[in-house]
Symmetry: C2
Subunit: 381 residues, 2 copies
């Protein structure tokens, strides 16, 4: 007997399995058509099941942000990139315990991180590949110019058992890569071009030039030199991705199933999904040009009534603003909320439910790589 959505306890993250499959296909096809290597970031799903599908569809390896993610994903692939400047003796030792068959690459932006990584690698006699990270405009991590790129690449190249292997960047500031003119793309091409030229001159031509992020990924073939993309969000998409035009509303695969629990205050309905289920992730209207206020206000919107927005939240309460709708829900009604930022929603949950069609719960899977603990500290699901 099938299990139906209405039988699930709420709040619960539910994934439309057909949309998930289409999203996985679409990015794999994009990368293949344009000759880009696809190395998906697992931070969005943290699930071996989806990572396996990404690899089956041609991904060259996986991208991770945490050691826990790397540990879990090492069971699926022999090629892992840590797109985070991992530091700390304890954490680096743990990273070095990843099975030796796995080619480990770390993206880093400082000599201190390189020295620590080299020491940890040396301790276990392991070669570790390195991407030098450049800041291309997001102002988060990454060295600041072509000269600094060359300097750090040289430093790494001389520091066995590290192996200088590539140039990495994260174009998270490029939010509106779909449509219209894109001066940010031109700026990115110029910045990368200068670095690649300088690296060539220094005899340090990178084997890999690795960029990504879901909104920017779809345009990376237009930027000369890039060989690899690392999108994460595309598997599920979310309201922010739709607001910047990098997916359609009906490509949002993950929703939070919630129940209306109160209609006492006029003009609103309260659901049982608050910050502990949806996160509190505003969409910056300034970074979503072309989107109107209905697409960016609040913290999520109903899948089948995108004009109904979660405008306020407490930890376990979400307030639906009913001012833009004639719909008047009753206590007990279920709704499905498209969250602003799906990566946070996944991180808040231990289990994801897979739905086929309108309402049949076909499967569920654990968010295995969630959390920070080493495997021995957390029992298997």
């Amino acid at each position: 007997m099938p299990l139906y959505l209405e039988q699930l306890e709420t709040p619960a993250p539910v994934v439309d399995l057909d949309r998930l499959a289409m999203n996985l296909d679409r990015m794999a096809a994009y990368a293949a058509v344009h000759g880009l290597q696809l190395r998906p970031h697992v931070k969005t799903h943290k699930a071996p099941r989806i990572a396996a599908e990404q690899l089956r569809l041609g991904a060259v390896g996986l991208t991770c942000a945490t050691v826990r993610e790397a540990e879990v994903m090492s069971e699926l692939t022999d090629d892992l990139l840590l797109a985070f400047p991992i530091t700390g003796t304890t954490r680096l030792r743990r990273l070095m315990n990843i099975p030796p068959r796995v080619r480990l690459t770390v993206m880093l932006d400082s000599q201190r991180t390189a020295v620590q990584l080299a020491a940890a690698a040396d301790e276990v006699g392991r070669e570790v590949h390195v991407f030098v990270e450049q800041d291309v405009g997001m102002r988060r991590t990454g060295v600041q110019d072509a000269a600094a790129v060359v300097q750090l690449a040289e430093f790494v190249a001389e520091r066995a058992p590290l192996k200088y292997d590539g140039l990495g960047f994260y174009p998270g500031h490029i939010r509106a890569a779909i449509g219209a003119q894109q001066p940010q793309l031109a700026s990115l091409a110029q910045t990368l071009g200068a670095s690649l030229e300088a690296l060539d001159r220094a005899g340090l031509t990178p084997r890999v030039v690795s960029g990504g992020s879901t909104p920017a990924a779809w345009r990376m073939h237009e930027v000369a030199g890039i060989t690899e993309v690392r999108p994460g969000t595309y598997v599920y998409n979310d309201r922010a991705t739709a607001a910047v035009g990098a997916c359609e509303w009906d490509e949002c695969a993950l929703t939070v199933l919630a129940t209306v629990v109160s209609t006492s205050v006029p003009g609103q309905a309260v659901i049982d999904a608050g910050t502990k289920a949806l996160g509190r992730e505003p969409i910056d209207g300034a970074r979503a040009p072309g989107a109107d206020e209905t697409q960016t206000a609040g913290f999520g919107a109903l899948l089948d009534r995108p004009e109904v927005i979660v405008t306020r939240m407490s930890e376990e309460h979400g307030i639906l603003d009913l001012s833009r709708t004639e719909w008047r829900p009753r206590v007990g009604d279920q709704v499905r909320v498209v969250p602003n930022h799906v990566c946070i929603v996944v991180h808040l949950n231990d289990v994801i439910y897979g739905v086929r069609g309108q309402d049949v719960v076909e499967t569920k899977w654990p968010v295995t790589a969630r959390g920070r603990e080493a495997p021995e500290a957390v029992p298997a699901w």
Copy 2:
């Protein structure tokens, strides 16, 4: 051999055990001195270990928001309040599986919720107590006036096996209850006074009048009729609680231990605690009157340098603004961040570390009541 902070992998939530003990004592003493019953909300800590200490110090029972919290806490007390209008057949059946020795109370604000609860209680032949919830100004849940309070109380009183038992409210809008004039307190007293008078006239005098929230808790003895408080945050406190004057900075017991991972971008340092470790919980300056911008900007601040603020975040990155300090950290340095909203930080973690003094890690405990799953779905820690 002791374990030191510097040996922990970051990001990690660490609790100053002496501050925790003082915070627990202080609220217990306040309630005892003023003849208020203390029913702490476990949403902040989700840990049996701390709940047990709250009960040892005189708490009459515990407050929960989720069924998972109630299941875990039912091992510690025979008196649980669900301060949430729980609905849904599956979830209510699960709630009714709490051992029968436990006196269950549900706070609710609609006839529909009462009817569903009565049906579930009837199915297992269990008496369930009810607090009728009134909205006292937060505009979240709760019926809107004294007449509606009486109407719902009457409805519940006639609906065995429900047992009408009290009036509840959540004064989450009262953020500045410490200091100065407090028109909101006067308004609360007036609202509650009208409801209590109407209930008396209807022969429905409540046994319990239950309010709470950490900032308001300290003033609840000034409001006639209140018999019980339900603060949660006070065990750890946080930057928002300090900003509204409801705790001192050195009463913040939980910090997120983090490591500086990048200093490449001038004027800032990047730590490995982002939204997945700190949450993204702004402090609304308008709701923290008297606080200056340094106390409310951003998403957290360093414990020993509160002028250094986490101004931006990605999922695994926090950006420390160095514009207000001469301090220039190096990659690898550890810092301790006081988060804006501690309840969210706890919800993001599986394990909390207990620290004695400056840097000795004395113990750790699981966040047992985290998550949504029934016990059989989640192995014990």
